[in-house]
Symmetry: C2
């Protein structure tokens, strides 16, 4: 049962993916908590920690991606006090300088995005995306 | 500069990995927030959500692992209000029913563990572990 808070969190989550799609680094950075503890794990990579490294990692992603589009599925929002999480499957369509207009890559990742409530609204504190290698186990 | 709160969080994080090593499901379950929003992403898998599915997923992991040992490296604790995160590299040594005493598997994963402050102390709210596929990029 989505309530107003869930919708606020999901809107910030959507804005996060739109910032990547639009290669809009300023909008991306505005979405993060101003906190030394921010962490970002890009798929298959080691953690990037702190505002400077996290910002630069997104600048690199945006500089190396000429086209990217996210189709989010299985989006679930959870809120507990001042913290919120969004877990979702990122179905990704990409193109880069090596692909022509008819050639796109694709992929699937699972993301957990953790948001904290701030005076300016919900802001991203942690992003962890990982490749999906296996089918879900018997628990799902 | 680790302070008392950081040490409390890191102690719960350590207890989490000890519970897996000891196949101690009761201790594992005691470490989680009693909240419908708990989420667990096992390496390469889709999210498992909610206390029942998360509990069962650990029961399955423990039932299928005869030996597992974690060597944690690059452990970083961040605290913001009532939320805390631990990011670390899980260097894993495993054996199962197929491996003899001289044969072990191994692997490396990156984990983000998010804890919330509760009346009973810091408790796990979200665990996301993912395989490390690539070297760190230029941002590190």
């Amino acid at each position: 049962m989505p309530d107003a808070v869930h919708r606020q969190v999901e809107a910030v989550n959507t804005a996060f993916y739109e910032a990547i799609e639009n290669a809009d680094l300023d909008s991306m950075l505005d979405l993060w908590v101003d906190d030394p503890g921010v962490v970002c794990v890009h798929p298959g990579a080691l953690p990037v920690r702190g505002p400077g490294p996290v910002s630069r990692s997104w600048a690199v992603v945006m500089a190396h991606t000429s086209y990217i589009q996210f189709f989010l599925t299985d989006v679930e929002v959870a809120v507990h006090g001042e913290a919120a999480s969004v877990t979702c499957t990122e179905n990704v369509l990409t193109g880069d300088e090596r692909t022509g207009p008819e050639e796109f890559g694709g992929g699937k990742a699972v993301a957990t995005n953790v948001f904290l409530r701030t005076p300016d609204g919900w802001r991203l504190w942690l992003h962890h995306a990982s490749p999906v290698l296996a089918a879900a186990d018997g628990d799902r």
